[in-house]
């Protein structure tokens, strides 16, 4: 801690929960978060469960996706913790994880797309910002790959 006077900002960035979907998304999200220098980061991957019906992807593949995402986050934040959640409802799982790890804020990067795309892919931006019980940081969508 460098004794900055921007106390509220410091508090908000004390422990950031960073939900990431895959390797590419994780790297891009972590890269845009990096300039704000969060004090501690926990990467979160939510394995989307069918909840009583088969999943979209085999468990083995989902778990390796989580590992890849965490590794990508650690390329930017080497000390980041990781957390894997299993849930049918991704937004709910993010809130639960934030409680569990005691996050000061949730930072996420919208994956863009038009309304149809958002509908089809189950975009959770709206749920995140409306239902969260702690600050939600919407990171800018800059394309990391030029």
């Amino acid at each position: 801690m460098n004794g900055s006077d921007a106390n509220t900002e410091q508090d908000m960035l004390a422990h950031v929960l960073l939900p990431v979907a895959n390797e590419e998304d994780a790297l891009a999200t972590a890269t845009v978060l990096e300039p704000y220098q969060p004090e501690h980061v926990t990467a979160l991957h939510v394995v989307e469960k069918g909840g009583g019906v088969p999943d979209k992807t085999p468990v083995e593949q989902s778990e390796s996706l989580a590992e890849e995402s965490f590794a990508a986050v650690r390329e930017v934040f080497p000390d980041a913790d990781d957390h894997t959640a299993y849930s049918r409802d991704i937004a709910e799982a993010i809130f639960e994880a934030a409680d569990e790890v005691g996050a000061s804020a949730i930072a996420y990067r919208s994956r863009g797309g038009n309304r149809l795309m958002q509908l089809l892919s189950g975009d959770i931006s709206l749920t995140l910002v409306t239902d969260a019980d702690r600050p939600v940081i919407a990171l800018p969508r800059v394309d990391s790959d030029k």
Partner: protein, 749 residues
């Protein structure tokens, strides 16, 4: 609760409905008419015999499923037990079998819609004419593929409801019909031959129970629930089919079914008579639900089989890439979807009864898998590897699986000859696929050939020879060493041999002779000695060194205009796994004129690269700087290969702000990589200076590439290059191929 338990969320009912929902598809709604016409009063028996054959295989599938709850189901067990040759057959048969089955479900779906809408006939599209049912089937098929492509999880929840509605509709039908049944209404007994023919074409109604095993890792308490779901679904479905068939043939006057026209569907007509219009509507509705749920489940199941095949490299793993937005294996689903639509169209264009052609092909392929599945069980029990601990055991072993295998294969004889020929061609093609594609890629050897080869003395020679000749050779690790300067040859070959030895691989020594652009390559290769006197001496030396180190070596001379770029080409064309190359003022000339080409090359490496700055190779004291990440993990595994060979001392260096934290990190990191007997060194300060200082005590510095494109930066004179120049010891820069998963790279594999 552990992560593994969290991932399991399928209860017994959910598991059961996967089986029932997949099986009760178009079969019972479309085929009873044909079954009764063919087998007469034995149509009931035809379904019961089909159920019995399915049950034998269901017992084997349950045992294998509880022993190996892995994604991929039937394909996985066959590949594991019988090896990748049969694995290729089972994988392709399973994948295409599901696509044929889905095509069949969709054509059934099309016929139902057609009946509801009341349009029939054919539509001409240019030179070809398609049945209306086919067009509806194509649209329906595209819809269900699309639903799976975007991965709408709502469809899954619907599946349970659909299955319950279906069972309810059929239960009401059999109950009401059963009240009016009269044995005297049964049509004539047509004999056992026609009965088996009917079993052959209705067997498509029993495809699906094995799909439960493909989601075994998601089932709660699989040891208990998996066998219950697999066996329970077969028994339940068989009972439903038998009752429906009995009602259909016994509750109405003889000849009613035979008199139903080609454009009508027998179950619907019978329901109309028994229950009135509402019965007919319910049956129409049921048929739609059933075909839709079966097709949906089959598309999902086929992506699981693709996943497992890709994992074993029987097909390219890139097929299993996950869509960044939809989180679905979209490529696999798209290709399966394409196959389904193609089969629907082909089924119509080929002529004849499209329904019977498609269902015949699906049954043929599944029967092959079921036969192999039963044989796999016998192999697993006989070889009895230590890790084989099923919770459920097949009763009456070995009688049950042997009978299961014989009956599955025997039923194939009752499938239509044309379809049989076609199915045999697919099996032949999948064997060729193994020989020409998968064999050089897959590394997994089956339990069967391990068993035979480990007892080669007591086994018949023919069996040993056969097992040897089909053994996969994808496991052979090839280490390529491009050699240019005789001075460094020995050290490079030594390092390459250490890597090859660790992987039981071979060294490929390549001598690249660079000739000026003006000289044609053809001329140059005939007159190599003009460009380089004594050009084979370097390879002869390499051969001697490798042989002394006890590693197999191949040597080759390549004449090229481009020294540096040629290394990449050679690595790609000769399928090198690792490239060990020298780098320095006197190696391979400078990469040249085509900077952009180099960019592309170095950002997508064709193999793992070890770039050696040779200042007298001395493996005694190795230094590895690390800050975590995949690059240094790879460096660490290279160091441990060298340590195995030369008993080197390894020092790990971590530059951190806090020494205590750094030590903790380093201890953990070393333990995760399985590095023992290492010295841990934590310094704080400037990373580069600390590395250079620590390297003063080292004889060899191994630096892992932390980011992509290390080679490019090396060549262009980046900070990495400066470290290489600043230290006095030899340096190895290690960069791993990026198309591996990051996890593999993290483990340094």
């Amino acid at each position: 609760m552990s992560d593994q338990e969290l991932a399991k969320d399928l209860g017994p009912l959910a598991a059961l409905t996967i089986g029932v929902g997949t099986m009760i598809g178009a079969g019972i709604f479309v085929l009873p008419g044909d079954a009764v016409t063919t087998a007469g009063s034995l149509a009931v028996a035809a379904f019961v015999v089909g159920g019995a054959i399915a049950l034998l295989t269901a017992l084997s599938a349950s045992e294998l499923g509880t022993a190996m709850p892995k994604s991929g189901g039937a394909y996985f067990y066959v590949n594991h037990a019988l090896g990748p040759l049969f694995g290729s057959v089972a994988g392709w048969a399973n994948w295409l079998g599901l696509a044929f089955a889905s095509a069949f479900y969709m054509v059934g779906f099309g016929e139902y819609i057609q009946l509801i809408v009341g349009i029939s006939g054919a539509v001409s599209l240019g030179p070809i004419s398609l049945d209306v049912a086919t067009l509806i089937a194509v649209v329906g098929g595209a819809f269900f593929v699309g639903v799976n492509y975007v991965g709408a999880k709502e469809t899954g929840a619907l599946q349970n409801v659909i299955v319950i509605i279906l069972v309810a509709i059929l239960a009401v039908f059999t109950f009401v019909g059963g009240l009016q049944a009269d044995i005297s209404n049964l049509p004539a007994n047509e004999g056992y031959g026609p009965m088996l023919t009917a079993t052959g074409f209705i067997f498509v109604s029993y495809l699906g129970f094995v799909q439960i095993t493909s989601v075994a890792e998601e089932i709660k308490e699989p040891g208990k629930n998996l066998p219950r779901a697999v066996i329970g679904s077969v028994v339940l479905v068989t009972a439903i089919y038998a009752l429906v068939l009995f009602v259909m043939s016994a509750s109405l006057e003889p000849g009613f079914i035979a008199g139903i026209g080609g454009n009508q569907i027998a179950v619907v007509e019978v329901a109309d008579v028994l229950l009135g219009p509402i019965g007919a509507v319910a049956m129409l509705f049921g048929g739609l639900l059933a075909t839709a749920s079966s097709a949906n489940a089959s598309i999902l199941a086929s992506s699981r089989i693709n996943f497992a095949m890709g994992r074993d490299e029987i097909i390219t793993p890139s097929l299993n890439e996950i869509h960044p937005r939809f989180s679905t294996p979209y490529k696999s689903i798209a290709i399966t979807g394409g196959l389904i639509l193609a089969f629907i169209l082909a089924g119509d264009l080929v002529g004849g009864n499209a329904i019977l052609t498609l269902s015949g092909a699906a049954s043929f392929l599944h029967l092959v898998i079921y036969g192999l599945l039963n044989i796999s069980l016998v192999v697993m029990r006989t070889a009895d590897p230590e890790e084989y601990q099923p919770d459920f055991r097949v009763p009456l072993y070995p009688f049950t699986p042997i009978l299961g295998a014989i009956t599955s294969f025997a039923l194939i004889a009752y499938i239509e000859p044309g379809v049989r020929l076609f199915g045999t061609a697919i099996i032949g093609a999948s064997i060729l696929w193994y020989v020409f594609y998968a064999r050089t890629r897959t590394t997994k050897q089956g339990i069967l050939s391990e068993y035979i080869l480990s007892r080669s003395d007591t086994m018949p020679d023919a069996a040993v020879t056969a097992a040897e000749s089909v053994r996969p050779d994808g496991g052979q690790h090839r280490v390529m060493v491009p050699l240019a300067n005789p001075e460094h040859e020995e050290n490079l070959v030594t390092l390459a041999a250490a890597v090859a030895k660790h992987h039981n691989g071979v060294v490929d020594a390549v001598h690249i002779v660079t000739v000026p652009d003006q000289t044609s390559l053809e001329y140059a290769s005939d007159h190599i000695e003009e460009h380089e006197e004594d050009y084979h001496a370097i390879l002869d030396d390499a051969r001697q060194h490798a042989e002394r180190l006890g590693v197999g070596i191949n040597t080759r001379t390549i004449v090229s205009h481009r020294g540096f770029e040629e290394i990449f080409d050679a690595a790609r064309t000769h399928e090198a796994d690792t490239v060990v190359m020298g780098w320095g003022p006197d190696s391979h000339g400078s990469p040249g004129r085509a900077e952009s080409a180099l960019d592309e090359l170095a950002t997508s490496l064709p193999a793992d690269f070890l770039v050696v700055r040779d200042r007298g190779f001395n493996p005694d004291r190795i230094l590895i700087p690390t800050r975590g990440g995949p690059g240094s993990a790879y460096a660490a595994s290279i160091a441990s290969f060298i340590q195995d060979e030369y008993g080197s001392e390894i020092t790990l260096l971590h530059v951190a702000d806090s020494v205590a934290e750094g030590e903790e990190f380093l201890e953990e990191w070393a333990a995760e990589r399985g590095l023992s007997a290492v010295t841990l060194k934590v310094e704080s300060g400037d990373v580069r200076e600390e590395i250079v200082r620590a390297a003063e005590d080292a004889s060899l510095l191994i630096v892992g590439a932390s980011e992509r494109g290390l080679l490019v930066r090396l060549v262009r004179g980046s900070p990495a290059q400066q470290i290489v120049d600043d230290v006095d010891c030899s340096v190895i820069l290690a960069e791993q191929q990026q198309n591996r998963s990051i996890v593999e790279r993290l483990l340094g594999r």
